[in-house]
């Protein structure tokens, strides 16, 4: 629980820092002017990265398609908006998202494919207790962990991690049974 909080606080701090640092990057501000068709001039969109005080038709629309007398009438129809974004935040978020997604997928592949193979290679078939759970389920190998922990005297930390992982897997198993098999919750 505490580690979760620490991770979240770290992430939040990074977020806030990044948004402060990258917001004022000159690449990330722009003034966008949309000018509709006027007489025989087609509609056009103009963009420039100017600051808020210069964000109006006279500064942004270059080259001006009409002559001096018509400039005012043309500019009245244009609409200029100042916009700001933080490309650093976007980049950071996408990269964090993809890495978390990648980690989860790797962990899932490990749990379903690699771990049974590794355990089978370490223990051989004789020590595995067959149970009648689903194929691809991890419960038949729970005993393997107990055997392992008794045979080698592992340090306590690793044991705790193993126990926690087993407990978590049992919980997910239970949840999967209620939701997917018996349709008791969240049908």
């Amino acid at each position: 629980m505490k580690t979760m909080f620490v991770i979240e606080a770290f992430y939040l701090a990074c977020f806030v820092l990044l948004s402060q640092v990258t917001a004022k990057n000159s690449e990330d501000i722009r003034c966008k002017c949309i000018c509709p068709p006027y007489r025989d001039i087609a509609g056009k969109i103009y963009k420039q990265n100017v600051s808020l005080k210069d964000c109006n038709c006279l500064h942004v629309v270059e080259p001006m398609p009409v002559d001096g007398k018509d400039v005012e009438a043309y500019c009245l129809r244009c609409e200029c908006k100042y916009e700001e974004r933080s490309s650093g935040t976007i980049k950071f978020t996408i990269i964090v998202y993809l890495s978390i997604l990648g980690l989860l997928l790797l962990y899932m592949v490990y749990l379903t494919l690699l771990e049974p193979m590794l355990k089978r290679r370490l223990f051989g078939h004789s020590q595995l207790i067959q149970s009648d759970d689903d194929v691809g389920d991890q419960q038949p190998f729970a005993n393997a962990h107990n055997v392992l922990s008794r045979s080698h005297s592992r340090p306590n930390m690793l044991n705790k991690v193993e126990h926690a992982q087993q407990r978590w897997r049992r919980q997910v198993q239970e949840q999967r049974k209620s939701v997917f098999d018996r349709h008791v919750v969240l049908s």
Binding site: M1, M4, F5, E8, Y11, L12, F15, V16, S19, A23, E27, D28, R30, I34, C35, P36, P37, A42, G43, K44, I45, Y46, K47, N49, A73, L76, R77, E79, E83, E84, R85, S86, S87, T89, I90, K91, T93, I94, I95, V96, Y97, I100, L101, L104, L105, M108, T112, W168, Q171, V172, Q175, R176, S178, V179, F180, H183, V184, V185, L186, S187
Partner: protein, 755 residues
């Protein structure tokens, strides 16, 4: 007591054993007990605070812990989760169409942000963004490019939905669905362990983005409420006051639900009202302040993250402020009727489909079901540009009023030269608009049908955006119809008074707004919170009256077909023990008709306050599966002493056998204050007065059931004892009440599954 033998008695005033006072999974909490535990704790801290400065500081920090927790919840939900989900969802949705060459992390809009090659007609083309056809074949025109784009779209949709459902299945099966029905049940006192845990949070966040991006017809608002409640639950573990007390925790969860809606829509006040109206069970004023504060913090955090650079929280900002006329109330009410009919129909169809999924073989293949629905959606959605775009984009395009600056197909009117100014009079429809209209009609039919089978699948799915999209399409169609009617018939008596030719009198964008509100109200039966959310979403404060009219009409029409909204219907489908606070119980039964044991049942299983041994108690507890036992003075008198819960009993006996000397099966179990005198060689007694509830609620057998149900609702009881002439007669539990109500409504009483 009497100096005989080594008597080490269990002191009932010591700290309770770990495990006593906690609840089992899928059980209801005892609100009264939790609240009195909190009051005792508060009193103790206040008393101690006078003794030393440390204790005073402790009491001050205890008082502020609630506000600090709300601050943390707002920060965490607003920033990390909602902002991150928004950015990632936009990016991944655009990934189906192409990729950005200057940086793969930019979505389509941001890729073309700086480019000067965007034209007035094609606002989203730029050379930096390449569609898949351009990347693979080098061209973007022609039938072959279209087919390549189509296939890539379907491929990405299938990939995303496959990843979503396998992640949900492998790591956190509780992360599927919307989450709001289960949160409603949890807030009413139910316990679902793991539903608001950290794995559910992680998986729901990641798979929500995947599910939304795969083009399925679902939104992210309901799952964001679940995500916010998960954050709140996880942060509760930092504070003792909230970790140990289930009732206080539910106060925090109510506030977190407000935060969820606040960050989903950028509507803080609407979020608070949504929590009050839809999600919460008890909503005292204290929770109101806390929700307000948390929603404020979340909105502020989201704004400072500013994911999209428009510095606005508002999702579908409308720029128009054209007035509406009283005559237009008629089409608005028509939209309300449509919304009510759609809501009633949707609820019936969706529940029928979910029931089929629950009971037949369809439910055995969740992964294949998700893939098939995603493929079907992608296949049918791609050809029509209005279904190809995401729900939020569609809604903002439909809400938008056409001005000179717009060049989309929906604004394809015939250009009548108007001179200066940007606001345009009503004009006849051009070819572009007619194309858009029939495409929209097809989109309406498609969305209505596909949302029925999408909501409730085993991926995180929300309902708000699809319902609003359906309503917005219907509203816009009606609005354009009215506009053309006004243009071609400006001399008829309906329009003559207020709509002269050359004036801008009808805004189809407003009709779209009203339609969206009507459909969402018809499905969820929200009223006040919906209107507030809508005008916070759009900024259109002038349009409160049409929104209210349409919402009320749609609620009335939908209620005529069935009293429940979609969330209550799902609660009933799942059989959760949710005692609906808004329903009235108007049958004339008495308490004696509902209580157990009935005439044919075995007698009530009671414990006597003294005279039973540990062995006898254990045998009684093992032979039944009741979750609590009344304690009486003696079997003959049946006068009530108190009530003791099964879990506490078992834990205490277990602990006493292990730790206390001399407790064996022949030891007496004593619920009185003073142990009775015993033979010198008798084993020491087990005193269990500490775990007994000395003030159980009782009603007499002739109490009418509506008063009893009211007592259950208002106090949050789990069971209530029934007495007759002062003697204990039976017990009524919440499950009995729910079964009785189901029987009266001619429903199956065995559908109530949980205690």
């Amino acid at each position: 007591m009497n100096g005989n033998g080594p008597t080490k008695l269990v002191d009932p005033l010591e700290d309770p054993l770990p495990g006593v006072g906690t609840y089992e999974d899928f059980n209801t909490i005892d609100w009264v007990r939790e609240k009195s535990k909190d009051r005792d704790r508060h009193r103790e801290i206040t008393n101690k605070s006078r003794q030393s400065t440390v204790a005073l500081l402790h009491s001050v920090s205890d008082a502020f812990s609630g506000w600090l927790l709300m601050l943390l919840v707002g920060l965490m939900s607003g920033s990390a989760l909602a902002g991150g989900i928004d950015i990632a969802a936009h990016w991944l949705t655009d990934m189906k169409g192409g990729v950005c060459l200057i940086g793969f992390w930019f979505n389509h809009e941001h890729c073309c942000w700086k480019s000067n090659e965007t034209t007035f007609q094609e606002r989203d083309q730029c050379p930096q963004w390449q569609s898949w056809a351009e990347l693979i074949t080098g061209t973007s025109e022609g039938a072959f490019a279209y087919i390549v784009n189509y296939l890539m779209y379907i491929f990405w949709a299938l990939l995303f939905s496959f990843l979503a459902v396998t992640l949900v299945r492998a790591f956190a099966p509780y992360a599927c669905g919307s989450g709001i029905p289960e949160i409603k049940t949890i807030l009413s006192g139910f316990i679902i362990r793991g539903y608001l845990g950290k794995w559910t949070l992680i998986i729901k966040t990641i798979t929500l983005v995947l599910a939304v991006s795969s083009g399925l017809s679902l939104g992210k608002e309901g799952p964001l409420v679940h995500v916010a409640c998960c954050c709140a639950n996880i942060l509760c573990h930092l504070f003792t006051k909230y970790r140990k007390n289930e009732a206080k925790r539910r106060e925090v969860l109510s506030a977190a639900a407000a935060v969820g809606v606040s960050v989903a829509f950028g509507a803080p006040i609407g979020g608070v009202l949504f929590s009050l109206e839809e999600v919460s069970y008890y909503f005292p004023l204290k929770t109101l302040w806390r929700s307000f504060f948390a929603a404020l913090v979340a909105a502020f955090t989201l704004r400072s993250i500013n994911p999209f650079g428009n510095s606005r929280l508002v999702l579908f900002y409308v720029e128009f402020h054209a007035p509406w006329h009283l005559v237009e109330l008629a089409p608005f009410i028509l939209l309300g009727i449509f919304g009510g009919l759609w809501g009633a129909l949707f609820i019936k169809a969706n529940i029928a489909w979910c029931r089929r999924r629950k009971t037949t073989r369809l439910g055995h293949y969740p992964v294949i079901e998700v893939l098939v629905v995603a493929a079907l959606t992608a296949l049918l959605a791609y050809p029509n540009s209005y279904t190809r775009m995401s729900g939020a984009e569609l809604i903002s395009e439909l809400f938008n009023d056409c001005s000179l600056l717009d060049s989309s197909q929906l604004c394809g009117y015939e250009q009548v030269d108007t001179g200066v100014g940007n606001s345009l009079a009503d004009r006849p429809a051009g070819k572009g608009l007619y194309t858009a209209l029939w495409q929209l009609a097809l989109a309406l039919v498609f969305k209505m049908m596909i949302t029925v089978i999408t909501f409730g699948m085993k991926v995180p799915s929300g309902l708000f955006i699809p319902s609003m999209a359906v309503g917005a399409i219907a509203g816009r169609l009606l609005g354009v119809g009215m506009e053309q009617l006004a243009y071609y018939n400006h001399d008829s008596f309906i329009f003559k008074g207020w709509c002269s030719p050359g004036a801008d009198c009808i805004t189809p964008g407003l009709y779209a707004m009203v339609g969206a509100a009507a459909c969402l109200g018809g499905v969820t039966r929200m009223t006040v919170s919906l209107v507030v959310i809508m005008f916070e979403l759009t900024g259109g404060l002038e349009y409160i009256v049409p929104l209210m009219a349409a919402t009320m009409t749609s609620k009335w029409v939908a209620d005529a077909f069935g009293r429940e909204g979609i969330y209550e219907a799902h609660i009933r489908l799942n059989g959760y023990p949710f005692l609906e606070p808004k329903e009235e119980f108007d049958h004339s039964s008495l308490a004696v008709d509902v209580m157990r044991p009935r005439r044919s049942d075995p007698a009530l299983a009671v414990l006597t306050q003294e005279g039973m041994t540990v062995g006898e108690v254990e045998a009684l507890v093992d032979s039944t599966h009741y979750s609590g036992f009344p304690v009486v003075v003696s079997q003959e008198s049946q006068r009530l002493v108190g009530f003791v819960l099964r879990r506490d009993l078992l834990i205490s006996i277990d602990n006493a056998r292990k730790r206390q000397e001399g407790v064996v099966s022949a030891s007496q179990v004593v619920f009185t204050e003073h142990a009775p005198s015993q033979a010198p060689d008798a084993p020491p007694p087990l005193r269990l007065r500490g775990i007994m509830d000395l003030s159980p609620f009782t009603v007499t057998d002739h109490t009418p059931m509506d008063i009893t149900v009211d007592i259950f609702r208002k106090l949050g009881l789990r069971q209530c004892l029934v007495t007759h002439n002062g003697r204990l007669l039976g017990i009524i539990t919440k499950k009995d009440i729910l079964k009785h109500m189901a029987q009266i409504a001619n429903r199956d009483p065995d559908s109530i599954l949980f205690n």
